[in-house]
């Protein structure tokens, strides 16, 4: 990597967004390096193993002009009823990003919400660490490097031992017709707790959004991360979520995908400290001609760590869902328990599901399990409900709600659960 630092003078082939010129030199260097890495990698081809199941044409890298996310003052029009459940509300859209500190928590000095450029000045080590975090078993691809090159956004740091009654809401509105690369860096210090909810919405139209989330959780810290993507249609979406947990740290992540013409996501966690625990849940309901390709990575690099993953998907109409999971246990990661489960429902003819769970185990004293199922709604359950007088459509919806409830109930806030349930019901009932 150090080699790349010395060769920043070369012109990157991937255009950098305007407004990145005045950033701290270390950050600009990283940005140029990412642009060059992206340019060095070949564009995805349909026969690449990574892209065999998703149409690369749905994720064109050079079709849209990049957006640079600069801080801007909050606008009253941004307010939403959901805001009252959070201390801090961050908006990110095509015009920049803003922060509203509703609970006045930033004044206490226990939590800092900074722009990436500010963070690179004040917390250079943290930014450096988070910027370079990547799962070794799944190196960054061209899209991810390109997203890093253009990434801008918010850095949130929680001081040691801090805890808040309410969390942080990040509302992302993906603009149409742009290459939009919001970045969220979460630096959760030891013994502190942070709850972050991302609500992802999008403008109607084409475009490409690639969101990067990097986190690290210090010893005994806890991060709750909920990502709700509630928009149908709109730009193609990519997301790259990855982070590292120190000793006894906990991650509880839930991702919900209800729509999106083309979605490609990767959620990863590395249990890097003894006793760290990872819990990841995912829910996807795809309809129409939507394509979703979700990848998860559970890495165990320390002993006595646990991970528990459950991803559920249902597809209707002509939609397609691909799930690719990986548990990697490194040498020396003994006494670990890792679990990965992927359950899928195909609701009608024409829809399609691929499931590729995976285990890579280099240690011996452990238990790793994965399971995958694909099927349709249980005819016995349908019969049971119909024999009690429920119309078929209601019976189907109830069973589907039950299928997803296992994930919905993992969301910490009742208000969020209601939002998800409402959107689920709308999507289930929508005509094909």
């Amino acid at each position: 990597m150090s080699k790349a630092w010395n060769t920043v003078s070369e012109a990157p082939a991937i255009p950098l967004p305007p407004g990145t010129a005045n950033e701290p030199p270390a950050l600009s260097a990283r940005r140029s390096e990412a642009a060059r890495r992206a340019a060095d990698l070949p564009p995805p081809a349909p026969h690449d193993e990574e892209w065999r199941r998703t149409d690369p044409a749905r994720f064109p890298l050079d079709a849209w002009p990049p957006v640079h996310l600069e801080p801007r003052p909050p606008r009253p029009a941004d307010a939403d009823p959901l805001d009252e459940f959070f201390d801090v509300v961050i908006e990110m859209d095509g015009s920049g990003w803003s922060v509203r500190d509703r609970g006045g928590v930033t004044q206490s000095g226990r939590i800092a919400v900074l722009s990436l450029a500010e963070a690179a000045e004040r917390h250079p080590d943290a930014v450096e660490t988070l910027w370079t975090l990547e799962p070794a078993v799944r190196p960054r691809d061209r899209h991810e490097w390109a997203a890093m090159a253009a990434a801008a956004g918010v850095f949130i740091r929680v001081e040691p031992g801090a805890e808040f009654a309410r969390g942080v809401l990040v509302r992302v509105r993906q603009p149409a017709g742009r290459w939009f690369c919001p970045l969220t860096m979460l630096d959760v210090s030891e013994r502190s707790t942070l709850h972050v909810v991302s609500a992802i919405l999008s403008e109607p139209g084409d475009g490409l959004a690639a969101e990067t989330v990097r986190y690290r959780v210090g010893a005994g810290g806890r991060l709750r991360l909920a990502r709700l993507q509630l928009c149908a249609g709109g730009p193609s979406q990519m997301e790259f979520v990855h982070g590292r947990l120190s000793e006894d740290a906990q991650l509880d992540a839930v991702s919900v995908h209800l729509g999106g013409a083309a979605v490609r996501s990767r959620v990863g966690a590395e249990a890097a400290g003894r006793g760290a625990g990872v819990r990841i849940g995912g829910l996807l309901l795809a309809a129409g001609t939507e394509q979703a390709d979700q990848q998860t990575v559970q890495i165990h690099s320390a002993p006595d760590t646990t991970s528990d993953l459950l991803f559920k998907a249902a597809v209707r109409d002509r939609a397609r869902s691909v799930y690719r999971g990986l548990i990697a246990a490194h040498r020396g990661a003994v006494r670990i328990a890792a679990y990965q489960k992927n359950q899928n429902l195909i609701l009608n003819e024409g829809a399609r599901v691929d499931s590729l769970p995976g285990l890579r185990i280099d240690a011996d004293d452990l238990t790793c399990t994965h399971g995958a199922t694909i099927g349709s709604l249980d005819p016995d359950e349908l019969f049971y409900l119909r024999s009690r007088g429920l119309p078929e459509s209601v019976a189907r919806r109830l069973i589907l709600e039950g299928f997803f409830e296992e994930i919905v109930s993992r969301l910490a806030m009742p208000a969020l659960r209601d939002v998800v349930r409402r959107h689920l019901a709308e999507r289930m009932d929508a005509p094909a």
Binding site: N348, S355, A363, D365, T369, A372, T373, I374
Partner: protein
Amino acid sequence: MPELPSDNKLIRDYAHGFVTPVEEEVVPPGLNEDIIRLISRKKEEPDWLLEFRLRAFRAWQRKTEPRWALVTYPPIDYQAIRYYAAPRSLSAGQAVDPEIARTFERLGIPLDERRRLEGVAVDAVFDSVSVATTHQKILEEHGIVFCSFSEAVRRVPDLVRQYLGSVVPPGDNFFAALNSAVFSDGSFCYIPAGVRCPLELSTYFRINAAGTGQFERTLLIADRDSHVSYLEGCTAPIRDENQLHAAVVELVALEGATIKYSTVQNWYPGDEQGRGGIYNFVTKRGDCRGARSRISWTQVEVGSAITWKYPSCLLRGDDSVGEFYSVAFTNRKMQADTGTKMIHVGRRTRSTIVSKGISAGESVNTYRGLVQIHPAAERARNHSQCDSLLIGDRCTANTFPVVESDNPTAVLEHEATTSRISEDQLFYLQSRGVDPETARSLIVNGFCREVFKQLPMEFAVEAVKLLEIKMEGSIG
């Protein structure tokens, strides 16, 4: 190469590692159209077969060696391999050379009619050629054709021509194309309609000559409502060099037919340092062409430096059934990337996958599988179970299944676990006076039971013993 002294540790570990001193007729090393023509001429083949070989060779030249499997090995020099080696005595048209008969006897496969195995007809393949096929008379009474591939080309050319390459096309993959170009012999079997084969059919493959590869081809056709159980065994001498074994096995099951194909693969795996051993790069595929047909693969893989094989079932006939039962044991520096493919095309097709991987030493053991449900495969059903057992902390176990469903009425389940031998089970056995080594062996046998019970009785007994021998010393 002289035989190693019998008290050598390697000999104890791998009792099949001896070399038979027979004079062999070989072709010069290298691969080109002339060599292929030479092999074809030596075997007095018809033109269409030479054409098949040449087509495959041209396909092979256009292909690149696959690198996606999780195995590492130095580049293979395909021009340094001899593609044909046959005992000279055989080409002179004599009866089986006493040396070769002794070899098979030492391997537990007597070829002479008086002492041949009860209930098992064996086709013995020595390097590139089939040396003997036992029990011909009984088989002929039932109209069963079971002979070496070369003989089949002479005896039943129409059958061979109709089915050869119909399951694994000559250009299917790099190693299948190589095999199709240079295959020297192998077994052919045809079971007529309605016949239940009275014997277990068996092929025993033996690599003897140095600097050669073995490229045999097995073609097995089960006509309507017939039934056959087929066994395959393999061994090779201990050598420092790596030898390539690239076989193709094609199975065709017509309407209502059942084929049970069992393999105990015990090629020489290399020594403690990973020197020598067989590269076992094999394409095995079964085609359930007719309705209600059934193909069942059972494999016990305990040898080879590298195993790279995925016995598959193409379930085309409605209500056809595919099964895959596998035990793969790797030790020392062995590498195995193995699994299966179940392609569901017909309606109500069913498949079962049971894979048990045991890794010890510094070995790498990977399960890789595909279950594919095509849109027309209404109410297809699959259950897969892949378990890995780890012995020691320097081995690696990987599981990479792929499940694809294009039909809402299909039901698929996949489960996989990886763990080491349970301390509780060990403690239980030891507290009852069982010594640790025996206890571990018992637990491993229990772990593999589901697969072993699919094997014919004699083979199951052999498999259990073989695994015990292989495990010795692997437990620290």
